[in-house]
């Protein structure tokens, strides 16, 4: 019995104080308050909120908006890194096509990722403004926010903000007197990681099991109910207002020489670092800079390895901290930036155990649609569990090599299995000795009759 519970209600909080955040340098977070309170419509409006909507809808054509977005080189912040402007340019629009849908992917469930929660809970009007602009550019009839069911506080905040925006004329018929009709519906999910995959998300929105769909056709051609559909991540959409307000060049200059990818990024650190948390930093901030902001590892721990942006990204070594955290740099090093929230791993942590945890997650969350994923992932877990307990057999590691390959890109409908294969392949490459220690050597077994846990 403890006399006083130390566990606290979780509150998502940015590490940078308001005094350090400016509109010119922190487009995503400069309005956020130090107390973390929700930014209501009055506060948002007072800080130039919805200016981008009123200016853009009266001044720029749909194609103008898309041109600016392409030039800004805003790359998808959900982890895919695909250019938002290019995605929008590929959406079927025009009089010969029905008006379709804009879906905000707020199904944040990637292991180690807690960034969209901040934007949803504290500044939902920025997302709504970004969605109006994206809806305008893509000629969307309606927007949906697909929010994971567990984000209770975010649902309250978004729901309130939608009511406020509708009452103020930013949503509904004739948005801000522009002649453009657009509204947004909040849809809360009922669990399952796979809903974050864009075509599975569309199936889930339509009320079906969240199985992915074959591509092509891409959602921009045929998405929700067969209509042209754009799916963008929360953080991606939250970048749009500032880009249209200040221009593509300004946005690119935010990252400057650091990266070809424009803008800022919500970066984060989890794991056994001294000061875990979230920061808005220029795109291309190095892993070292971020790691230092987190104060390095906790006392008694040194950095063994790290995941750059979620459970579906490949392990990196300490020396990779010198790389810019952008899509191309991390990609060239054999991993993926993913969501850009790094998880740091202590030297005391068994990589085999961590791998078992990751693959158990992917195995449970497989939707079961494709055989390699449905059957290969539980097999992977079984092998890893044996190695973790020092009861691996000869050939188990080679089988894991094969599974990492057979679960890789191009063998399944969606990126779930490749996402599971990436950390496994890199763990086998960088930490093979740890896996080998889990293989029961026949001679040792005969002598001692007992396994040696690593």
């Amino acid at each position: 019995m403890s006399n006083h519970a130390h566990a606290q209600r979780y509150r998502c909080q940015l590490r940078q104080p308001a005094a350090e955040r400016k509109a010119e340098t922190h487009p995503l977070t400069w309005r956020l308050r130090d107390d973390g309170a929700l930014i209501g419509i009055d506060d948002y409006r007072a800080k130039s909120g919805y200016t981008a909507v009123s200016e853009t809808l009266s001044r720029l054509s749909q194609n103008d908006v898309i041109s600016v977005m392409k030039e800004a080189n805003l790359r998808g912040r959900g982890g895919g890194g695909f250019s938002a402007g290019v995605k929008w340019s590929l959406t079927l629009k025009g009089e010969e096509y029905p008006r379709g849908y804009l879906i905000c992917n707020a199904d944040e469930m990637e292991p180690g990722t807690f960034k969209d929660r901040l934007l949803l809970e504290q500044q939902p009007h920025l997302l709504i403004e970004g969605m109006i602009l994206a809806g305008y550019a893509n000629n969307s009839r309606l927007g949906y926010i697909f929010l994971r069911g567990e984000y209770i506080e975010a649902a309250r905040a978004v729901s309130q903000a939608l009511d406020e925006a509708r009452a103020a004329g930013w949503l509904g018929n004739d948005v801000a007197g522009s002649g453009f009709d657009f509204d947004i519906v909040l849809h809360t999910g009922a669990g399952r990681y796979i809903c974050g995959e864009e075509t599975a998300l569309i199936n889930s929105l339509e009320g079906y099991r969240a199985n992915p769909r074959a591509k092509p056709p891409f959602p921009g051609q045929s998405g929700a109910w067969g209509k042209p559909t754009v799916v963008n991540n929360v953080e991606t959409l939250c970048n749009v207002p500032a880009i249209l307000q200040h221009g593509a060049q300004w946005y690119r200059d935010l990252s400057g020489d650091r990266s070809n990818d424009g803008g800022t990024k919500l970066y984060g650190v989890s794991g056994l670092a001294r000061q875990t948390g979230l920061w808005e930093l220029p795109m291309g901030t190095t892993g070292r800079e971020l790691f230092d902001l987190a104060g390095g590892m906790k006392a008694g721990h040194t950095l063994k390895t790290w995941l750059p942006g979620g459970g579906s990204t490949g392990f990196m070594l300490p020396e990779h901290l010198e790389l810019p955290l952008d899509f191309d740099s991390i990609g060239k090093a054999g991993s993926r930036l993913g969501t850009g929230l790094i998880a740091v791993v202590s030297h005391q942590q068994s990589v085999v155990s961590l791998m078992r945890n990751l693959e158990a997650f992917f195995a449970r969350e497989s939707c079961g649609w494709c055989t390699p994923c449905r059957d290969g992932l539980p097999w992977t877990v079984k092998l890893l569990r044996a190695l973790e307990q020092g009861a691996g057999e000869q050939g188990d590691i080679e089988m894991l090599d094969k599974l990492a390959n057979d679960l890789g890109p191009g063998k399944t409908f969606c990126a779930h299995a490749p996402g599971a294969a990436m950390p496994l392949e890199s763990a086998l490459r960088y930490f093979r000795d740890e896996f080998e220690q889990g293989v029961r050597a026949p001679a040792v077994e005969a002598r001692s009759g007992s396994a040696h846990p690593i």
């Binding site: 403890s2 566990a7 994971r148 069911g149 209770i152 999910g189 669990g191 399952r192 009320g207 998880a343």
Partner: protein
């Protein structure tokens, strides 16, 4: 009777076992249908609406929802059994969702799970004898900077140390 015409028919709401969708819930489901091109899309929300009232989705609710939405019963059951936050068996008064993803794993998930299992006397998927708690694992809760994290009902906590548990659970009767 079920059909695949995909039209909302509020009169079709009584299942063979007598389960009846509450009129308020039916109105909420009908309202939800208005958000989508087809009633099928309201299926998940309909299950959540029924679950809010009953704590879980009773067997009779499946054909009742199917009838109301004008979709196949198998489709509703398929959806109900796919999604982890739809409960097809009774749960305790408070559902504990324990994050078992990687960042919480790195920061003390195992010890927290062991403490929960010991204090509640149940494992995953089980309900405590007094009917207070059901324990379930959940995908990354997005509270990774303060792991290990968990939800009790609608409340998210983190970080939770094993010694914090008894005090924390006391608040949920």
């Amino acid at each position: 009777m079920t059909n695949d015409t995909g039209t909302f028919d509020p009169s079709q709401t009584i299942a063979s076992d007598g389960f009846r969708i509450h009129p308020d819930d039916l109105a909420a489901i009908e309202h939800e249908c208005g958000h989508f091109e087809q009633p099928q899309a309201a299926c998940i929300e309909a299950l959540k609406i029924v679950q809010r009232r009953h704590g879980w989705v009773p067997d009779g609710a499946i054909p009742a929802i199917a009838s109301a939405l004008g979709i196949a019963t198998a489709s509703v059951e398929g959806v109900a059994t796919f999604y982890s936050l739809i409960f097809r068996q009774p749960v305790g008064r408070h559902v504990i969702l324990l994050c078992d993803s990687s960042s919480c794993f790195l920061t003390g998930y195992d010890a927290l799970r062991e403490a929960l299992v010991e204090q509640l006397g149940i494992g995953y998927g089980e309900t405590s004898a007094d009917g207070r708690f059901t324990l379930l694992p959940v995908c990354c809760l997005g509270a990774c900077d303060r792991g290990p994290a968990m939800m009790i009902g609608e409340d998210t906590y983190g970080p939770v140390a094993p010694e914090d548990l008894s005090g924390l659970l006391e608040a949920y009767s």
